[in-house]
Amino acid sequence: MKNYITNILTFLMLLSSVQVMAQQESDKDLMEMSIEELLEVEVYSVSKKKESLFEAPLSSSIITGKQIQQAGVTNIPEALRLVPGLIVRETTNGNYDVHLRGFDNLNRYSDASTGGNQITLAMIDGRPVFNNNIGGVFWESLPVDIIDIERIEVVRGPAAALYGPNAVSGVINIITKSREEEGYYTDAQINYGVQEGFNPATTTAGLRVGYKASEKLNLTLSGNFQNRKRLDDQYFSYFDNEYVILDSVKSTYGLNEGEPLSAEQQDYAFPNGSNESLQKLGTNLFIDYKANDWLSFNGQVGYQNASSQRVFRQNPYTPLSVLSLESFYANLQVKASDLTARFSFTNGNDDLNSVPFFLPSGDSIMIAYTYENADINLEYSWSPMQNLSIVPGVSYQRSTYSDNNLDDEPNQLGLLNGRKTLFNLSASLRGDYQPIEDLRIIAAARADRFTKPEKVYISYEFATAYSLNENNFLRAVISRSNSGAFMGQTFIDLSQEYTVQTPFGGFNGIADFNGNQNLELFQLQLFEVGYRSRLMSNLEIDLELFHQRSQNSNEIVDDEIPSQYFAPISNVQIFKNLPLEASQFGATLGLNYLPSNELQIRPFVTVQETTTTGLPTGYNTPERNPLNNIFTTTEEENIQTPTIYGGLIVNYQPTEKWNINLNSYYLDAHTQFNEYDRSNTDSSAGEIETNLINNLNIMYRATDFLAINFNARNLANNQNREYYGADRKGYVLMGGLSLSL
């Protein structure tokens, strides 16, 4: 730690001595500039963001495509490390777990999939990219990549009233680039990186070609590609409670307990070899057409195909497994005067667990399915007065998942057992009122009618912002949001009987997994106050204090085994709501300091504490275990989320041609849990040590259209794991080229 501080200090001081000299020079020049020259000066205006709903009253941050490129980030979830309030943990090279302000692993002994983030809504240009089966975002399945990004907007805190269900802990909205100048254009980026021993680690490439025919019509075709290798060669073996090579990973379950994966099973489970961490391909076509001042169309269609090896679904061997994800999408937004309509459609197939979960019958349980999601949104913006806008809206979301595709596969059982549909219909109303110049009030409410559970949920948001004077600004938010219903939790339906032969005769067993169509939806409530101040013309401070409470957690728990089955070889489980409630207090402080035109320094940190009440002592129904079940509970401090996390970005642009960026990300030590730990209390896989990751990116703009960069990721080679059962980190040294014509 001390060494890092010294490194950073030396770097900053070096910068400062250069920049003071440069600045004295440029101050003088500025006073003598002509209008033509002034038109070329870039100005910093930390306080004046684009006026939108996104702005001021809510806790929000924006990171631009340019900032992402300067930081040398080559992957969308990694870019979120540049934003305050986000916990971003890498599990294998290029694969990340992203949480907004925590509430992760609340149930402790959850399966690795339900332990992921199910409560943050990600969108691309307003289109939700959300997995409705288990909930959450599969970052590797985004069809767009770094090259397409204009900016990423992050809203912290429940915002379903504004953005729809699943915006429970917040929203991450990825906005793609738009084009101002007419004519043909091309953007291309390629990066190649090596790890220790000069072995290949990361290759990424992106290309955008387009033609803006006129003010009215713009067409862009984009493609992106990533290929990443693991930086580690070991797997955590649940059976031995240690990290071993793949050949030594053993099963903890059923009749093959203690047995390693056979060569055949290894080939099946890790089809691309144990070395691959991410292969990702995406392509998109963007068409923007503005018929006239009151009618415009923005359309996108695209395809993505990805395969990742990362910490995911529970299997009896190891936390890592391979996910294969493929999808097509189409999205159309129509603006007709004050009416905005959005239609989107996604069709895809996922295979989520390559590592088989064998039942005693020899059959294996699969989570592999096809799906279709359709969304329709209508909003009308009405301004009865200059200082008041009222936006009523309706929306319809429909999601169909099917594992009928497994019907023809011998010995494979789908968890959904057929084709299942969920939909919800909602009505929303939001108002934005500025009664006096210094005061702004946003009030929004949304009612969602779900099919399962058959119930109406109300989300709301009240946000107010008050300017004390032009340099000081106060705001407050009260909001409540709920998640949507997910396929898995609602519809899992697998039941199989079998007989196990023993020297004492045959015993009947059952595997019976059940969803719950009456699960109450997870809910988060927020109270927040924020203060922004321009302490000096070039120093802005942003402080937010928040309190959040959660309820309606759920988990799959052990249920009573009917007496006709022999308990030791049977498994009966059902999803149930838990009495668990979490309460969180926290603060985020961010600074934006611009000592000169050439230098920007942006540190941010979040400190938070979460307490959990109603944490079950046993994940059983009372029928299964009257003494130790989901209603016998304790109160615990939540140690699953880091108490302190944050980052520092220092960007230095001494001349037009050079840009030097140092960015660091910090995660405090914490302890994660997994279902496996219930039977292995000595497990240490979840003990996450302090992580400090430093990255350095040096860019040189050789000509107007060509830039080259040298990029050292994790340059201090911190090897700590960041997530339960995840890979050891390593450094990656990258070189890149970017072209803009």
Partner: protein, 165 residues
Amino acid sequence: MRKYLIVILLLAASFQSSARVSTPEQIKTLFVFNFLKYMKWENIQDEYRIAYVGSEDKLYQEFKAMADQKSIAGKKITIELIQNASNATGFHMVYIPEHNAEKLRSFSSLNHTVVVTEKKGLALKGSHINFITQSGKIRFEVNKERFTESNVKISTQLLNLAIVV
């Protein structure tokens, strides 16, 4: 972590005493200085008089700094604070900052006075020149008709650099 942040804060503080930054305010006042050179008033005597609608805020301070350092062909530039249109006669230019944008309407009938604003859309609502920011750079819109109405001449050279509305 705490130590790490304190170090950075201290460091940040030590930087700022020695350096300045080109803020939008600074650039806008330099634009205004340049504008004066490209406009012609019948009533110019020995100084250019600019009125600033508001208080002694940061933008005003920048105007003051500019006025102290600059002159045009031997003529001084002065900057004065005013609150409303009734005090605005005799000024060559009136600058209405964004937070006072709603006062624009009351300034629309002045003769021989150029009104400069800095809020989107105001060039079409009565100001002569309006600053906007595009892609991090400052641009200015010019309403030619308003110049004709108030009997101030504007050079075509300046119009070529402006967004004419």
